[in-house]
């Protein structure tokens, strides 16, 4: 998502890094690059100006000039400043001590409020909260129907009163219902509105007064351009929002709006919506995101994602199997499914340190279809074959290929790769690290050239 920006900063800074000593003109050149990169990433012009000014002052300060590795120091400063620009270390939702926690969602048309409501409901539901959503978008045709469908899919109760009543009344009524029914959380979905539409902004302010939300969240499309700042300022005035939900971060938008909104309003980004599925909704970590921009990876997020998906008992079982060399294709299938639950593989790669710099890997399209084929092949095997791939002879291969709609070569390849993987895992389980060659063989049948790191 921030790849372009990350690439540019990395190439500029790696240049600085290689010099060892910085002159003022080096810093100026780096600042020009950063300025252009940020503008291309849709960071607001005025924010960019202020940002590069602060950055330059810090980079020319004593701490950098006297440091042993000034280039590295500049990277550190850019990283720190980027994180500050995006809201420091982030914050949690404010939860009510008693009664339902009210979360009001607001934003422009098409920013993704309704979907974000359902995703947030699902997110809170996972924490064991009983969530309800109030359908207050009475303007867009069929908006209520959409909310009912996605809300219920997310396991939330949807309070609706059609489209004839005033949204302020619906919100008030929904809050009463939520209190009576002792819901933990009430999310109030509102209609998209233009920030310059006085009447509708007034309505939003009234909903806010009546429901006294614990959190007002502004939903912002990651693809927004320079105008994000104006929009955020207007919403800050009318709805006094507390935080931001960034949507559509799964595209290739460079997401500069995220930087600008926080810089101008001081409101942090709390959540990021990163995919079509209701589960694709994550807590936003500004500091980690800044590291990701610089290509330092986001290992913490990756670990957390893994923790969410991987059942601990399964993990222990797996460890035992590895030690005893009993890892089967069935286990492999389970593993693969768990990894895929964490999201698209290409997205996971972006979280690994150094991936930004590894062009080969980044541009190597991770073919999710290939993984589907692997699944299909394993599913076409009998339990005996999955437990012991050694028994798979010619006629079995043919049957498996037919059953999975693949070719015999695909089956051969999978069996071979599985064999190599098992060998590698055995050596890992016994404490030896696999060498690059082994890893490469596992990744694809042919060994890859070793990737040079800077």
């Amino acid at each position: 998502m921030f790849d372009q920006l990350s690439d540019r900063l990395q190439s500029t800074l790696s240049d600085v890094r290689s010099r060892g000593k910085l002159s003022e003109s080096d810093v100026d050149a780096a600042m020009r690059e950063i300025r252009l990169a940020l503008l291309e990433a849709d960071v607001n012009f005025k924010v960019v100006k202020a940002f590069t000014k602060t950055l330059k002052e810090r980079c020319l300060g004593d701490e950098v000039m006297q440091s042993l590795d000034p280039g590295q120091h500049v990277v550190k400063i850019v990283n720190e400043e980027l994180a500050t620009l995006m809201g420091g270390s982030g914050r949690e939702l404010a939860m009510a001590s008693s009664g339902p926690t009210v979360i009001l969602m607001a934003g422009l048309q098409g920013s993704g409020k309704t979907t974000a409501c359902a995703k947030l409901a699902m997110h809170l539901g996972k924490d064991g909260k009983d969530v309800a959503i109030a359908a207050c978008d009475v303007y867009r045709p069929a908006a209520v129907d959409q909310l009912v469908t996605v809300g219920e899919r997310a396991g939330a109760h949807v309070y609706r009163q059609g489209t004839e009543r005033d949204p302020v009344d619906i919100a008030e009524w929904a809050l009463q219902q939520a209190r009576t029914e002792r819901r933990d959380v009430l999310i109030v979905d509102t209609a998209g509105r233009l920030h310059i539409d006085r009447e509708l902004m007034g309505e939003l302010a009234r909903i806010r007064q009546k429901t006294k939300p614990h959190d007002v969240l502004l939903v912002v499309d990651a693809m927004t351009g320079q105008d994000a700042v104006g929009v955020a300022e207007s919403f800050a005035e009318a709805a006094e929002f507390d935080g931001v939900v960034m949507t559509k971060l799964d595209g290739d938008a460079r997401g500069g709006a995220a930087l600008s909104v926080n810089a101008v309003t001081g409101k942090p980004i709390l959540f990021a919506s990163t995919g079509e599925k209701l589960e694709n909704f994550d807590k936003f970590h500004p500091d980690r995101m800044a590291q990701r921009i610089l290509g330092m990876g986001d290992v913490l997020s990756l670990i957390e994602k893994a923790e969410q998906q991987v059942d601990e008992k399964q993990a222990v079982d797996l460890q035992k199997k590895l030690e005893k060399d009993q890892f089967t294709l069935e286990d492999f299938l389970q593993q693969m499914r768990q990894v895929r639950k964490m999201g698209p593989i290409s997205g996971l790669l972006g979280m690994l340190p150094g991936m930004g710099a590894m062009k080969q890997l980044k541009n190597a399209d991770i073919d999710e279809g290939e993984l589907d084929r692997v699944e299909a092949i394993i599913l076409s095997m009998t339990p005996a074959e999955r437990a012991n791939p050694g028994v798979i002879n010619g006629s079995r291969r043919k049957r498996i290929a037919n059953g999975s709609g693949t070719k015999v070569q695909n089956v051969n390849q999978l069996v071979k790769q599985f064999d190599q993987m098992r060998k590698m895992m055995r050596s890992m389980a016994t404490g030896k690290m696999p060498d690059q060659q082994q890893l490469a063989q596992m990744a694809g049948a042919a060994p890859r050239p070793k990737i040079r790191r800077r």
Binding site: F45, Q109, P141, A228, K248, D252, E276
Partner: protein
């Protein structure tokens, strides 16, 4: 704005009837436009061109960047203007420079201009774009114009079978516009819905089929492939169809809009842009970058929520508004 081919004469009477009402519509639009952004040339000259020096060009760059025109397009436009002033082909005078700038911007914005081609019978128009850019709303408005103002028989194909209640949303628009709706089950194959709609149009002698599609991010390869397939299904039924493919781009979109237009165009050969939500404070400068980089022109703009708030694109007006404070 719209090429109706041989059908145009037959509908003259309907258009004539609608004419007085239409003038009222445009007056209203002008008012709402000037209200929302005070697009007045005087303001441009006041803020940008009181003196012509290095700072002028910097201010101009800033204005274009803030309008989302993007760094490369901004640099090209400013460089061209600066060069012309230096060479003396444009006098170094505030008014002359301003007028020339609007000319250049208008020229860039008009790259590849052509009317919306609905001359075929039935004509097929396909609407594509990223989620939330205003596809369904735009279709509702186009259908209303074609049906109510031009007296054409319009069929809408509810090809967004993915988003919950998308077909219901389109159904409401169809009713307002007096158009027929062909829909499938939620999760149905969008190609099949398009197929049914075109078959229905051929059987019932309808004039125009408008195919709605689900919003999708251009980075989702499988969904882009699905879109290409819908197009192939349409082309199998009528070889030249879709006769017009429009992409909706939200005027608040930043530099990513260029990627959207490029990738969608690769998948389904986009003929034009509908620049939506221009009634806000966003200037929609990304359309300039799209026209200049990809040669895809803006054909329609959306300036509000009501049915009449869709209008033809005027490059000169757009150029002027781009630089308004």
């Amino acid at each position: 704005m719209i090429d109706l081919g041989s059908r145009a004469s037959a509908n003259d009477s309907a258009a004539a009837e609608a004419a007085p009402e239409r003038r009222g519509v445009f007056k209203r639009l002008r008012e709402s436009l000037s209200k929302s952004r005070q697009a007045l040339t005087e303001e441009i000259s006041a803020s940008l061109f009181d003196r012509i020096d290095d700072e002028t060009w910097e201010r101009l760059e800033e204005a274009l960047i803030l309008a989302d025109a993007g760094a490369p397009t901004t640099a090209a436009v400013v460089e061209r203007l600066e060069h012309e002033v230096e060479a003396g082909t444009v006098p170094a005078d505030g008014v002359a420079v301003r007028d020339r700038l609007i000319e250049i911007l208008g020229e860039v914005a008009a790259t590849g201009r052509a009317p919306i081609d609905l001359s075929a019978d039935p004509a097929v128009l396909m609407m594509v774009g990223v989620n939330g850019t205003g596809k369904t709303t735009t279709i509702g408005k186009i259908a209303w114009h074609l049906s109510k103002e031009m007296g054409l028989r319009v069929i809408l194909a509810a090809g967004d079978t993915y988003r919950a209640a998308a077909a219901e949303q389109l159904a409401e628009w169809a009713e307002r516009a007096g158009a027929e709706l062909i829909r499938g089950q939620e999760g149905a194959d969008p190609g099949a819905v398009a197929f049914d709609a075109i078959a229905a149009a051929q059987a019932r002698g309808a004039d125009v089929v408008i195919v709605d599609t689900a919003g999708r991010l251009h980075t989702q390869d499988n969904l882009m492939e699905e879109l290409a397939k819908v197009r192939r299904v349409i082309a199998k039924q009528i070889p030249e169809a879709p006769h017009e493919t429009l992409i909706s781009i939200d005027a608040t979109t930043g530099q990513n809009g260029l990627r959207q237009a490029k990738v969608f165009s690769e998948a389904v050969a986009v003929d034009g842009v509908v620049l939506t939500k221009l009634d806000g404070t966003a200037k929609g400068g990304i359309a300039l970058a799209i026209a200049s980089d990809l040669g895809i022109p803006v054909k329609l703009i959306g300036v509000g929520e009501t049915l009449e708030d869709l209008r033809p694109f005027d490059p000169a007006e757009y150029a002027t508004a781009l630089l308004a404070e």
